[in-house]
Symmetry: C2
Subunit: 118 residues, 2 copies
């Protein structure tokens, strides 16, 4: 059975991050949305459930921003992460990933449903 509420973590595949770097960046994004929206009833309901998280990928910064913007336009809470570049990316601040939701699966699928599972 598909989860009713979920959060989708969207990772930039083109950056070819180390696996552990992706885990850390994805956790940043996931946490940022939640901490910014702790009073949101959907967030509370999601946390009370199985707080389902799904991870997908995009191929560019442009595509990541496009997904993020579409989510916000659709009224879905979302966060985008810019890594400082202090330890990777040759010192250049780099947009690495985003988290979309939590929100209703059907609503999120309209924005991220076409993206490849990571």
């Amino acid at each position: 059975m598909a989860p009713k509420l979920k959060q989708v973590i969207v990772i930039r595949k083109d950056l070819k991050m180390r696996r552990g770097k992706e885990v850390a960046q994805g956790a940043h994004a996931s946490m940022k949305v939640v901490l910014e929206n702790l009073e949101n009833p959907l967030v509370q309901e999601w946390l009370d459930e199985a707080f389902t998280k799904v991870c997908v990928s995009v191929d560019s910064e442009e595509e990541l921003f496009s997904i993020y913007d579409e989510a916000k336009t659709s009224g879905i809470i979302a966060a985008i992460i810019t890594d400082s570049g202090l330890t990777e990316f040759a010192g250049v601040p780099t947009v690495t990933c985003a988290a979309i939701g939590p929100d209703w699966s059907d609503k999120i699928d309209l924005v991220t449903g076409h993206l490849k599972l990571r």
Copy 2:
């Protein structure tokens, strides 16, 4: 400069999870510690800083529990994640990862400093 406060996400490498599955599980662990300890001054200070996260690996469930137990014994906040197995792991609930801290880097390094960067 090494961060003063950090959180270490410890992933079971032996499970050979998909990359995206690791991202989702790591985000679960990271978030669980934070939500369970929102009133902890160290957590607040970490969130106000760069909320540094580092991801390392272990080779077994036994090793993961050993790290987790050592962290708790050392007075470091920590969380361990058991995946329901509903979509992976052939339906068997499976312990996938843990998050250690946030806490002072020096203190966490005594527990996780020997583990391989993921």
